[in-house]
């Protein structure tokens, strides 16, 4: 038995996507830069992938640039904007709860002399709009805000933020890290005032090592990778045709039954949250109203049980969850997000993230709850004195 409740770390690839990737490795393996037919055939897959992605966001296919994933897309948005607009200003506005793929490049830019502002959030993880309004000075070149927080699932009001950014600083760009929200929400950059948007393929049942950056055609940023001039010179390197095609197909597939899938995930999330509350001494992080957060992320603290221990106990029963953010488990620093929403030390130490996908079933959630009911009291017996 395997119950995978760690879909915010990564997802299982769609069968159709894996088949397509396989085919592009063995049959249509050409290099789109080649002049012969094999190259022309391969290029068609790139075009199609751009169209599929552009279709779900109602943007132009040429506004989609393929990258090696979410981290590269985020790095490119930050360094590319900073470099292109270095004469226009030095201020970059972000939040206190960003993923390290934003926080680290922002820290690097700060070290290089940029003025980085990190907006505070409230106890549910919502960015302070007042702080944003105050921070938007004329020398602001970029505002970057994540749409869904990867740890607690708070959904930031990006459309509202985008509107304020463009009203107060018409020349600043607004970037959205949509790595946890693409495929869970409908995202329309044109009407939501989003200039740039990062997406990772493996979070939406696509292949790893692949993703894209949406870049509004009116925006100018510098490349960060130079070479053979692929993708209009914006992102060099032999096109990752299997990755891009897989990303395109996964994007199309995840939006096919979106409303139905999201509704089911919300029901599962509510069900899990109710079940957890019965255990006692459990804090659920993020928006109090389960339906206000992301449909697939539930972060809870089991006071007295260290998250790592619970994770391994569940793992023993074939249930996979995350302690903090999977990407951040390489270092032991307490979660920036949980710290920012004023979680207590006891909560941070015992926090576990459950994350669903459209493949998660009610039966799986029930089993997980039953196992938690069994193991939590036992684990609470053995705590550090």
């Amino acid at each position: 038995m395997e119950i995978y409740l760690d879909n915010s770390a990564t997802t299982r690839c769609y069968k159709e996507v894996a088949d397509l990737v396989y085919k592009l490795m063995l049959e249509d393996y050409g290099n789109p830069s080649s002049m012969h037919q094999k190259g022309v055939d391969a290029e068609k897959y790139l075009r199609k992938a751009q169209e599929q992605i552009a279709g779900v966001m109602r943007v132009k296919p040429k506004e989609i640039y393929f990258t090696s994933g979410g981290t590269e897309s985020n790095n490119w948005a930050l360094f590319g904007t900073a470099s292109a607009k270095k004469r226009a200003g030095k201020r970059i506005i972000t939040t206190a709860i960003e993923h390290s793929a934003i926080a680290e490049p922002a820290g690097r830019l700060e070290a290089m002399g940029y003025d980085v502002v990190r907006l505070p959030v409230d106890g549910e993880g919502y960015v302070s709009m007042d702080a944003l309004a105050e921070s938007l000075t004329p020398d602001t070149i970029l505002v970057t805000v994540m749409m869904v927080n990867n740890e607690i699932g708070t959904v930031e009001p990006v459309a509202e933020i985008g509107k304020m950014v463009h009203e107060k600083c018409p020349k600043a760009y607004f970037h959205v890290d949509a790595i946890q929200s693409f495929g869970k929400f409908r995202i329309y950059p044109k009407r939501m005032n989003i200039d740039m948007l990062s997406v990772s393929s493996h979070k939406i049942h696509g292949p790893k090592g692949s993703g894209f950056l949406y870049l509004d055609e009116r925006c100018r940023i510098d490349p960060i990778i130079y070479g053979g001039g692929q993708q209009n010179g914006m992102r060099s390197g032999t096109d990752n045709v299997p990755g891009a095609a897989g990303t395109g197909l996964a994007s199309e597939m995840i939006y096919r039954n979106l409303d139905e899938n999201v509704e089911r995930m919300y029901r599962l999330k509510a069900h899990l949250a109710d079940g957890l509350k019965q255990l006692g001494q459990v804090t659920v992080h993020g928006p109090a109203d389960v339906r206000k957060g992301a449909p697939n992320i539930l972060n809870a603290s089991f006071i007295g049980v260290r998250s790592e221990v619970l994770l391994h106990t569940l793992e023993d029963r074939g249930i996979y969850v995350s302690a903090g953010s999977a990407c951040s488990s390489h270092h032991r620093a307490p979660s920036a997000t949980l710290t920012a929403v004023h979680a207590t030390a006891a909560e941070i130490e015992s926090s576990v993230r459950f994350s669903f996908s459209e493949l998660t079933t009610e039966e799986e959630v029930d089993t997980a709850l039953a196992v938690l009911n069994e193991v939590i009291p036992k684990l609470r017996k053995f705590v550090r004195s």
């Binding site: 790592e308 221990v309 619970l310 994770l311 391994h312 106990t313 793992e315 023993d316 270092h331 032991r332 053995f382 550090r384 004195s385």
Partner: protein, 397 residues
């Protein structure tokens, strides 16, 4: 670049009739270490000296690095071999050697001495003449050097053998000690920390082969913590040779202690059971002693009183090579042998899970033994289960 490496091994030289056992073992260990280096190397014993001869294209730097992991070697000297032994040619080669290794830019106003030896007595010049004539040649060619026969900065040895003239002057330090495999075997209590890998290294340095036990406590310690210990064992096996690492599931014993014994005595009692289990595996492996990374007073379980309590359950000698070391001294060795980076990875090991806030620092053996009695009903089967379910991983072969 060198034509051969002369291997110095101080301590083996003083061994008596079993000296050849040590030398053969050393040559074997050198051959094993050199197997992983790109190229072909021959290890030869000639007139009471061990040489490494590279054949053809090879990674000469890599060979030195590999030999620096072989216990028993105190020094590695890169040697220039001159096979055309006509004196003028030898002098010319020597001058070239000195100019290359001691250029005016970095060795100005240094002193040197030629130390000639002539094991091949048929050579026309004797060692005194060689000293004088070769010294003159170097002086003429390198006016920035002067001679000092008592305290030279640079001591250039010239050995005239039938096979050629061997010139060397630099000694790259080796790890010292005795070749592994000449002093029996011992069982290392390996944790994921900084100390125990260093302790294993220190004992192996005295020629002892190493096997190890690791106490795993799932779900309190993760698979990654176990992998970390395997990685540490791999790193020390570079020096010690193959290690059988026994991974012992310790969770149930630990929980039983937690439930039945006073919490401030947890660590001491836990360590006593670890020693007991380690000894059982030591006997299985044919080990003659246990090795721990304890250092007096470092933590509560390593005070002299605590050591007395843990030692009381052992019948084998317990080797504690770090007993008088400060933490920083241990860290320095750990950095040198390449275990530090892995040791500091933040995974919890089983010693830190249930640590009491105020553990006893002056335990009394009688009190500890009395507390342990409350485990009498359960501990037998738990120990047996731990022994039966242990997983053995071999690293470094």
């Amino acid at each position: 670049m060198y034509q051969a490496l002369l291997i110095k091994y101080a301590e083996i030289g003083i061994k008596g009739k079993n000296r050849h056992l040590f030398e053969d073992r050393l040559m074997h260990q050198m051959a094993v270490a050199l197997r992983k280096v790109d190229g072909s190397f021959e290890t030869v014993k000639e007139m009471g000296r061990i040489f490494v001869m590279p054949h053809g294209e090879c990674d000469k730097e890599g060979a030195i690095e590999a030999l620096q992991t072989v216990f028993g070697i105190t020094g590695i000297c890169p040697v220039l071999i001159v096979t055309d032994m006509a004196f003028d040619h030898v002098a010319e080669e020597l001058v070239g050697y000195v100019k290359q290794n001691y250029p005016a830019s970095s060795c100005a106003s240094q002193t040197f001495k030629i130390n000639a030896r002539r094991p091949w007595k048929a050579y026309p010049k004797d060692s005194m003449e060689l000293n004088a004539d070769l010294g003159e040649a170097v002086l003429n060619a390198c006016p920035y050097l002067t001679v000092d026969v008592h305290h030279p900065d640079i001591l250039i040895t010239v050995e005239v053998r039938q096979s050629g003239v061997y010139i060397y002057s630099k000694v790259i330090p080796g790890p010292g000690g005795l070749p592994v495999g000449t002093s029996g075997r011992a069982e290392l209590l390996l944790s994921g920390g900084i100390d125990s890998p260093v302790a294993g290294y220190m004992i192996a340095k005295r020629g002892v082969e190493i096997d190890a036990v690791y106490f795993h406590a799932p779900p309190y310690t993760s698979e990654r913590a176990k992998q970390k210990v395997v990685d540490l064992a791999k790193q020390i096996s570079i020096y010690t040779g193959p290690i059988h690492l026994h991974v012992i599931n310790f969770t149930d014993i630990q929980l039983a202690i937690y439930e039945k014994c006073p919490h401030e005595e947890l660590t001491i009692i836990m360590r006593r059971y670890m020693m007991r289990l380690a000894e059982i595996f030591a006997k299985k492996d044919g080990a003659l002693g246990l090795i721990t990374g304890e250092s007096i007073g470092q933590v509560a379980s390593q005070t002299t009183q605590s050591l007395l309590c843990t030692n009381a359950v052992c019948t084998l000698p317990v080797f504690r090579p770090l007993i008088g070391f400060d933490k920083q001294e241990i860290i320095n060795i750990s950095e040198k042998i390449g275990t530090y980076e892995t040791s500091i990875l933040p995974f919890e090991d089983c010693c830190t899970i249930f640590v009491a806030k105020h553990p006893v620092t002056h335990p009394l053996l009688k009190v500890i033994e009395k507390s342990e009695h409350s485990l009498d009903d359960v501990i037998g089967p738990l120990m047996e289960q731990a022994i039966e379910t242990a997983e053995t991983i071999t690293v470094g072969n």
